[in-house]
C-alpha cells in the first residue's frame, strides 16, 4: 500500500506546489492499482501547511510540478518521495503511477 498526494489545478497536476488549494490523495496497492481516492480543498494556499498535511496524512509519495528547493528538501528529509516536474492531467498521473516512476525526470504525461 502506498499513499500518494497530487496537488491539483482543475483537472490537471498543479504547476505550483506553494499556490495549490486542492489536492488529491490516492491509495495504490502492491500492483500499483488505485484502490481509493479523495479530493481535499485547503483553507488557504500555503506550502508550509501543505507540508504539514503531507506529514499528518502519512503520505509516502508526492507527485507535483514546480516546488521550491526548501520544501523539496524538507519532504525528502522527512522520508517522503517527491516526483517533481511531472506535468499533465490528473488521470494521466494516475495512469503513470502504474509505471512505478522514479524521481529526477521531467515528463509531460499527456504527450
Amino acid at each position: 500500500m502506498e499513499k500518494i498526494l497530487i496537488p491539483l489545478l482543475d483537472d490537471d497536476i498543479a504547476p505550483r506546489f506553494d499556490l495549490v488549494q486542492e489536492v488529491a490523495i490516492v491509495m495504490v496497492n502492491g500492483d500499483r492499482e488505485v484502490i481509493e481516492r479523495k479530493i481535499l480543498v485547503l483553507a488557504e494556499a500555503s506550502a508550509e501547511n501543505l507540508c504539514q498535511l503531507i506529514l499528518n496524512e502519512k503520505v509516502d509519495t508526492v507527485i507535483c510540478c514546480g516546488i521550491e528547493e526548501e520544501y523539496y528538501q524538507y519532504l525528502i528529509w522527512k522520508k517522503v518521495k517527491v516526483l517533481d516536474f511531472l506535468t499533465g492531467s490528473f488521470e494521466a498521473a494516475l495512469a503513470h503511477l502504474g509505471k512505478n516512476p522514479e524521481p529526477g525526470l521531467e515528463i509531460f504525461l499527456d504527450a
Binding site: 498543479a14 504547476p15 505550483r16 508550509e48 510540478c65 514546480g66 528547493e69 509531460f108
Partner: protein, 450 residues
C-alpha cells in the same frame, strides 16, 4: 519572410509564443535557460513551462477579452532547479491578417537584479553568504575582484561550505549578471546523457533525438555556466571541456559544425583535484585551465565565531517558517554544538537548527531538542605521546601503479619509493612500509634489489 526562431534565440529576454489554447508554439533559448525547461516545447501548456504564480492566480492572457493591446505584470516562476524567480511578464495577443486572434506573444524578464539593485555587500555578508571571520573577510575581498574579471574560477571546499552560494555571488556581482546562470551537477547525470546535456545534440544524433536540443553551454550564452562536482566529470568530457576552453566553440552531438558560445565557466568540487591528477583520474591540462582563479572555502570549524552568527540567522529563518518563537540555546546544547566537528559544515548546522526548532516547544533549545548524534557525540580521544611513540610509523607511499601492473611490480615500486624517502636507510624504509627490517631485506633480495 523572416526566420524568427534563430533571431528570438539571440534576444536577452524570454520569449514565449502560444496558441489560443495557451499551448506553446515557441520557447526561445533565454526562457529555456531561465526556466530550465528541457523538453520539446510544442503543444505543452505554458503553465508547465513557466510554473508561474499568474498561472494559478489568474492567467493574464485568459483575462484579456481580445481587443486590448499588451499588458504587463510582475509575478514569479519556479525554475527547474527549484528556485523562485521574480519576473515581469508582458503579454500581447497575436492577430492574423484578417484580424482574428490566433495566439499570444509573451516576453519574460528576470527582475531579480532590479529588485536587488546592488548585491548586498557589507562587513558580515556578501550576497547570501554570511560570516565575519578572518577567513570569510578574505573571501569577500577576493570575491569583489573576481566578479569584475571574466576568468574561469575553481571553487574548492568541503561539502556544505557554500560553494554554490559563492558561484552565484560571483555571477550576480559580475558584468554577466543579466545573463543566465546555469548550474550543472556533473555527478548527478548518467555519463551517456551528460554529453548531450552539456553540449546539446542535433535531430537524429541518436535514437530518441527527435529535435535539435541546445545544451547547457548554449543556454548559458552571455551568462555563466557553473559546473559543480567537476571531479565527477568523465574523462572523455574533460577533453571536450578542455577544447571549449581553448577556442570557446562547442560541437553538439551529431554535428560537425561548431558553435561559438560566450560563457564564463565556474567549477566547484569537494575533491582533491591535484590528487586525482596524480592518480590519472583528472586531466592536468584541464586543471591548469580551470585553475585561473581559485577560491578555497574554509570548513565551518575554521570560521571561529561565524557559528554564532549562522546560528542566529538559521534560528530566525526557521522561526519565521514554522511560526515559532525560539530565541536561544541553553548552555548544555550550545556546548554540545560547539564540541561537534560538523563534517557537513554550514548545511549540517542548518539542518540541525531546523530539527531543533521543529522539536522545541518553548523559547529555548535544550539538549533533548538536538538530534541524538549531537548530544551523544564524544570527541575522539587524543593520543598521548607515549601511545604515539609505541606505534610504528606507517606512511605507505603512493606508488605510481598502472591498472595492469602485477603485485610483484607494485611491491617493488613501493620498496623503491620507501628507500628513496628514507635516503637508503632500511630501518626507516621498513617503518614506512609497516614491516620488519628482516622482511624488507628478504623482499629486496627476492626482487633483486641488492
Amino acid at each position: 519572410m523572416v526566420n524568427l526562431p534563430p533571431f528570438l534565440d539571440e534576444l536577452p529576454i524570454g520569449i514565449l509564443v502560444t496558441g489560443l489554447d495557451r499551448r506553446a508554439v515557441l520557447v526561445n533559448r533565454y526562457l529555456r535557460a531561465l526556466t530550465g525547461f528541457g523538453q520539446p516545447a510544442g503543444g505543452i501548456p505554458c503553465k508547465y513551462i513557466l510554473r508561474g504564480s499568474r498561472c494559478v492566480d489568474g492567467c493574464t492572457a485568459q483575462s484579456q477579452s481580445g481587443e486590448e493591446g499588451a499588458c504587463s505584470c510582475e509575478a514569479n516562476i519556479i525554475s527547474r532547479d527549484r528556485k523562485k524567480i521574480a519576473i515581469r511578464s508582458t503579454i500581447s495577443p497575436i492577430f492574423d491578417s484578417s484580424g482574428n486572434k490566433i495566439g499570444y506573444l509573451e516576453a519574460i524578464e528576470d527582475i531579480r537584479l532590479m529588485e536587488r539593485q546592488d548585491l548586498p555587500v557589507g562587513k558580515f555578508f556578501f550576497g547570501d553568504i554570511i560570516g565575519d571571520s578572518v577567513a570569510m573577510q578574505q573571501i569577500y575581498r577576493v570575491l569583489a575582484t573576481i566578479a569584475q574579471t571574466d576568468s574561469s574560477v575553481l571553487i574548492t571546499g568541503q561539502t556544505g561550505t557554500g560553494k554554490d552560494y559563492i558561484a552565484e555571488a560571483v555571477h550576480n556581482a559580475s558584468q554577466r549578471a543579466k545573463g543566465p546562470f546555469i548550474k550543472v551537477n556533473c555527478g548527478a547525470l548518467p555519463e551517456n546523457l551528460m554529453e548531450s546535456e552539456l553540449f546539446g545534440h542535433l535531430k537524429g544524433a541518436f535514437t530518441g533525438a527527435v529535435e535539435n536540443k541546445p545544451g547547457r553551454f548554449r543556454l548559458a550564452h552571455t551568462g555563466t555556466l557553473y559546473l559543480t562536482e567537476i571531479g565527477d566529470l568523465p574523462v572523455n568530457l574533460q577533453v571536450k571541456l578542455l577544447s571549449f576552453l581553448d577556442d570557446r566553440i562547442i560541437y553538439p552531438l551529431g554535428g560537425s559544425r561548431g558553435q561559438h558560445v560566450d560563457v564564463r565557466l565556474i567549477a566547484a568540487t569537494h575533491r582533491d583535484l591535484e590528487e586525482m591528477v596524480r592518480k590519472g583520474q583528472f586531466r592536468e591540462d584541464l586543471l591548469f585551465r580551470l585553475n585561473v582563479v581559485r577560491m578555497h572555502l574554509p570548513p565551518l570549524m575554521e570560521r571561529g565565531n561565524d557559528l554564532y552568527m549562522l546560528l542566529d540567522y538559521f534560528l530566525s529563518t526557521f522561526n519565521k517558517r514554522f511560526k515559532k518563537k525560539v530565541r536561544q540555546l541553553d548552555e548544555k546544547s550550545l556546548r554540545a554544538l560547539l564540541a561537534y566537528p560538523f563534517p557537513g559544515n554550514v548545511r549540517e548546522l542548518r539542518n540541525i537548527v531546523e530539527y531543533a526548532v521543529n522539536f522545541c516547544e518553548g523559547d529555548t533549545i535544550l539538549l533533548e531538542h538536538l538530534p541524538r548524534y549531537i548530544s551523544s557525540y564524544r570527541a575522539p580521544k587524543k593520543e598521548t605521546e607515549r601511545e604515539k611513540s609505541a606505534k610504528p610509523v606507517v606512511e605507505t607511499p603512493e606508488p605510481p601503479i598502472s591498472p595492469d601492473a602485477s603485485w610483484a611490480d607494485t611491491e617493488k615500486h613501493m620498496i623503491m619509493n620507501a628507500m628513496m624517502r628514507s635516503r637508503g636507510n632500511r630501518t626507516k624504509a621498513a617503518q614506512y612500509l609497516g614491516m620488519g627490517r628482516s622482511t624488507l631485506w628478504r623482499k629486496m633480495k627476492a626482487h633483486n634489489m641488492m
